[in-house]
Symmetry: C2
Subunit: 361 residues, 2 copies
């Protein structure tokens, strides 16, 4: 179960009370959000709206792990010592060079009486907010970690605030598979909100993790046609040989095109039944803004999920094309997003097949 | 009158026919959009859906003019020669170093029988698409330009495609004032679309050009409360002394806060009657994403109009705050945007007063 927010949370709190955003855990500098703080207070005693989690694994952000490995030339003792030092100094695992964190898994240990997250002691969870804002303490010196990958088996505790996001790990799926789904679960949830019955939907990057889930979400939302764009014939073959039925395809049409070439992309999308009412950008490549805009009808919507999206390229691109399209910044948080995505995986054989190929279990 | 698009335009065209996007004018490299092209064909003969404009003034993008002035150490002859060379070589005024263009004013000279822009010969217009994609030829060697500013009086012609945007310059307003309004006219148009009757609206940067127009648009759309955020007491004083009436204020509440400090901003906005259903970001400063998100209700909308917006800061910020907010990339094009903004200026004395202070006429 994903946490939900029954009432809009008040951002600030009177002194001495806990803040739903964790402001009371910020030690230095005071008054900033936990993510912006240099140092958090990871004390195990919880406020009435907090939760303490017994941590069993950290999953460092890839960029953070790479920076540590390169800085210490792959020496496991030095990498371990560096991570321990960061956590001890900052009260959270936020690499000071990359600024990035990661996520954790663990077991709920204590739930404050006013926690709105709906969690219970004993539940195995993953955090869906970043380690950069999660108070954390480590008690086993990371002695079980070989420092050869970003996966850190460990012992310690972490604190969830009232306005945190955590998802209960399902019993019926391998954990790496569940975590891979949760990592991109905002995309299908927002796609499902935006796509209306009968819509033509273009998914750019349809054979990827967020793309395949978004395609499944569009089909479930009643799209009349889902056009999957992939960059290579090999990816197209992958889509063609998924375990689908003619009655319930993942995508209705496959387009092989370079999404960075707006003119060619739009022409091929049109041949495949476009332009789209909704275009979803799920590829982590720069320069896809114009193609996405040009593949979308006047009055349609583009959802950008790629972190490689340029705000100004999108804004100026639409203006330069006289394109009256609504452009959404893909928000990674939609209430219920993790469960929705896990359910899509369970009930959509082609999505599960794609994930199983892409995730090392 | 602003051009509108009666039918969705087909992006590509059969060979030999004109394209609404101007693909037939692209000489090098072929197949790219006019903005991405190195060289356009500025021939004066028009296709059936094109318009030729007799140009009287170019208004270079500020960054482009600065680069030219610095490169040629302010020497007017060299700056003039450089601009002439760019236009002659590229068939458009796109500074190859900055990549930016600007806009132009002129008089409609010939209208193709299939042009959908609704313009007539003799009308004085401004282009609202960039010079970076507008075929242009200069015939007077720029001899009237002193090269001391980015305003270039000149003679020549330019071509508008079917899918261009141009606005007729109004008779009743000084041209610099009209151009200043047109420059930011996307913001009030999109604000007007998004704000519903009774909404609480926060305008970050309410004393600026796009901010004041957006505040007026929010009031006209029936907002129950418009909270104007400004960075300094001086800007607050400016807002307080505008020619408004108690019955029709531009903003209902004024908040003085640093929009880059999310915690303080959100707390002050809440004191002023927030959080917002709709927050509009109109300040050209980096780091305003978190404050805008935190000042907005769960289920609300943030519209980012600042080109300083970071896509990833918005996406990751919302996720880190567990904020279920819709985030829109401020599209500079909404059909009818120029007329709507000019009408707001004419009918809202405080907006006109602010513009007259900020525009050198």
């Amino acid at each position: 179960m994903t946490s939900s927010l029954p009432t809009p949370a008040h951002p600030a709190s009177p002194p001495g009370q806990s803040s739903p955003l964790g402001l009371h855990r910020v030690l230095d500098p005071t008054g900033v959000l936990p993510q912006a703080a240099w140092r958090l207070d990871p004390s195990p005693a919880i406020a009435p709206d907090e939760i303490r989690v017994r941590v069993d694994r950290l999953n460092l952000d890839a960029a953070s792990y790479r920076q540590l490995r390169e800085t210490y030339a792959g020496d496991p003792d030095k990498i371990r010592a560096a991570v321990l030092d960061i956590i001890a100094t900052r009260g959270k695992m936020q690499n000071p060079v990359t600024g990035s964190g990661g996520m954790l898994t663990g077991t709920v240990e204590e739930v404050g009486p006013h926690s709105p997250l709906g969690l219970h002691p004993g539940q195995r969870i993953a955090t869906l907010v970043s380690l950069t804002l999660t108070p954390l303490a480590i008690t086993d010196a990371l002695k079980r970690w070989d420092a050869l990958s970003e996966q850190i088996p460990c012992e310690g505790h972490a604190i969830l605030f009232a306005r945190s996001i955590a998802a209960v790990l399902p019993d019926d799926l391998p954990i790496p598979l569940a975590l891979a789904v949760m990592d991109v679960c905002g995309a299908p949830a927002l796609t499902s909100r935006v796509v209306k019955e009968g819509a033509v939907v273009v998914i750019i990057g349809a054979a990827g993790k967020s793309g395949s889930l978004s395609a499944a979400a569009a089909q479930r939302a009643g799209a009349s046609r889902v056009i999957g764009v992939v960059p290579t014939e090999a990816e197209a073959e992958l889509l063609r040989h998924l375990p689908t039925t003619p009655e319930s395809p993942l995508v209705d049409e496959i387009v092989v095109a370079d999404a960075r070439d707006p003119v060619t992309l739009a022409a091929k999308v049109e041949q495949a039944g476009g332009p789209a009412d909704v275009t979803v950008v799920c590829v982590d490549a720069t320069g896809c803004e114009g193609g996405a805009i040009l593949s979308t009808k006047q009055g349609g919507t583009v959802i950008f999920f790629s972190m490689a999206t340029s705000f100004s390229a999108a804004a100026l691109g639409a203006e330069g094309l006289a394109a009256d399209v609504t452009m959404l910044v893909g928000n990674g948080y939609v209430p219920g997003h993790a469960e929705f995505a896990l359910d899509l995986l369970r009930t959509t054989p082609p999505v599960r097949s794609l994930f199983e190929r892409r995730v090392h279990q």
